[in-house]
């Protein structure tokens, strides 16, 4: 054993370097990282942030869709929407659970969201103005989420990958439910068609923005790729989403709001126009139309539910104590 400060320092450095090497080798070999494994601090921190923000997005995302539950046009549509929103809540739970395995608590994560230190996906800062928005969201927003989440099923952190697998299974009903609404409207009256077209025109570009900045403008991408947190780049995933979705829009007979959209036979992909990056950053920084409302509702829901949580805890304690006495 070393007994001088310099020697114990360099022994610690070597040990640390060994751990890093071991970790990278594990990642390279596609071995999953599990909760009690050693991991670099930066890996842990970036995952807590990414998974928790994903969880916050699911929960906040219940708001724009929940907005139409009482006004769904048929009972069939109402129970479908209720089931979808319920699923999103469950998805939030799976993701919070995965984040908590990394050494944080639900309380910390919720507080970080409420205090603005953590974000949620900006897509949920847009309003749902008509019933057709519910169709557009299920089709496009869940559609974009599915492209991203399928890729994340191969993420290096075990609990996150498993949450993604579970979520993907449930998410495909969401997309079909949304597309089904668009079909009904597109094949309906002129007013219904117009409503569907309007919703598509408003949700298209925000859905493309869900994939984040261009890879060249994305600060975190390199370490996320090295650590196999992220398996494909933002631009790759966005391209995939466009390629999948354009034929679906064609089937509806609706137009996508992009004059630069066209099939490129050389690339074997659709070419599409440039995102309005000013709008993108404005919304990411909190300028989305519904951001304040979403946060206010979220905080109120948490605070208003506090008495229920406390009462349940007191009741449980009382039952245990009564049993011990009896």
């Amino acid at each position: 054993m070393s007994n001088t400060p310099e020697r114990s320092e360099s022994a610690a450095e070597t040990h640390s370097a060994d751990l890093e090497q071991g970790f990278l080798a594990k990642i390279e070999s596609e071995t999953k990282v599990e909760p009690k494994d050693w991991m670099p601090d930066a890996y842990r921190k970036t995952l807590i942030r990414q998974i928790a923000q994903h969880a916050h997005s699911e929960v906040v995302g219940m708001q724009p869709e929940g907005n139409w539950i009482t006004r769904a046009p048929t009972l069939h549509r109402k129970i479908g929407l209720l089931a979808k929103v319920q699923d999103e809540c469950g998805h939030g739970l799976y993701l919070y659970s995965a984040a908590e395995t990394l050494g944080t608590s639900r309380e910390e994560l919720v507080t970080a969201l409420h205090e603005g230190r953590m974000k949620y996906s900006s897509i949920f800062n847009y309003p749902t103005l008509t019933w057709a928005d519910i169709g557009a969201i299920g089709w496009l927003v869940d559609g974009a989420a599915i492209v991203n989440q399928i890729s994340l099923c191969r993420t290096s952190y075990g609990p996150y990958a498993r949450a993604m697998v579970r979520i993907c299974k449930e998410e495909s009903f969401h997309q079909r439910q949304g597309y089904g609404i668009m079909v009904t409207l597109a094949e309906g009256t002129a007013d219904q068609r117009a409503m569907a077209q309007d919703a598509l025109s408003r949700w298209w570009w925000p859905s493309l923005m869900m994939f984040g900045p261009h890879d060249s403008d994305s600060a975190h991408t390199q370490s996320s790729i090295t650590w196999k947190i992220k398996r494909q780049s933002n631009d790759e995933l966005r391209q995939r989403f466009v390629d999948i979705t354009v034929p679906q829009a064609d089937h509806l007979g609706l137009k996508l709001p992009d004059p630069d959209l066209r099939w490129n036979a050389d690339r074997n992909h659709y070419d599409f126009g440039e995102i309005d990056w000013d709008e993108f950053w404005r919304v990411v920084k909190g300028g989305g139309p519904c951001h304040l409302q979403r946060m206010a509702k979220r905080k109120a829901a948490h605070e208003n539910g506090r008495w229920v949580r406390e009462a349940a805890a007191v009741y449980a304690h009382k039952q245990r104590t009564d049993q011990q006495v009896a």
Binding site: E34, K36, D37, W38, A83, Q86, D87, G90, L93, Y94, S97, E100, R106, E107, R166, E170, R306, R309, E310, A312, A313, V314, Y315, A316, Q319, R320
Partner: protein, 97 residues
């Protein structure tokens, strides 16, 4: 260990997907007591008939092996190939062994 008054303990959930199979770990949840844990597990993890039986266990009751000890803890099994049937040759022409 005290929690804030509105904090509930963590439970791990195990689900048997159909009769004849084991319970498998499916996820976790927070609940105030055992009854709530079971009901919440049903609502969270069997919405699509994914299970016929649920176990919930307080997370504090689970003892886990540690990844650091993974090697030494499981090492005894590494060189005991004689536990595998393939270690034992079967003479040609002999069946049902």
């Amino acid at each position: 260990m005290t929690n804030a008054p509105d904090q509930w303990p963590l439970w791990e959930v195990f689900v048997r997907t159909k009769r004849g199979l084991n319970h498998q770990h499916t996820g976790s949840l927070y609940a105030a007591d055992a009854k709530m844990a079971l009901e919440n597990a049903r609502d969270l993890y069997t919405r699509r008939q994914e299970g016929v039986s649920i176990w919930t266990v307080p997370a504090t009751e689970i003892t886990a092996s540690s990844p650091e000890d993974e090697g030494p803890f499981f090492e005894p099994a590494e060189d005991k190939v004689y536990r595998h049937p393939t270690f034992y040759p079967v003479p040609d022409g002999v069946e049902n062994l």
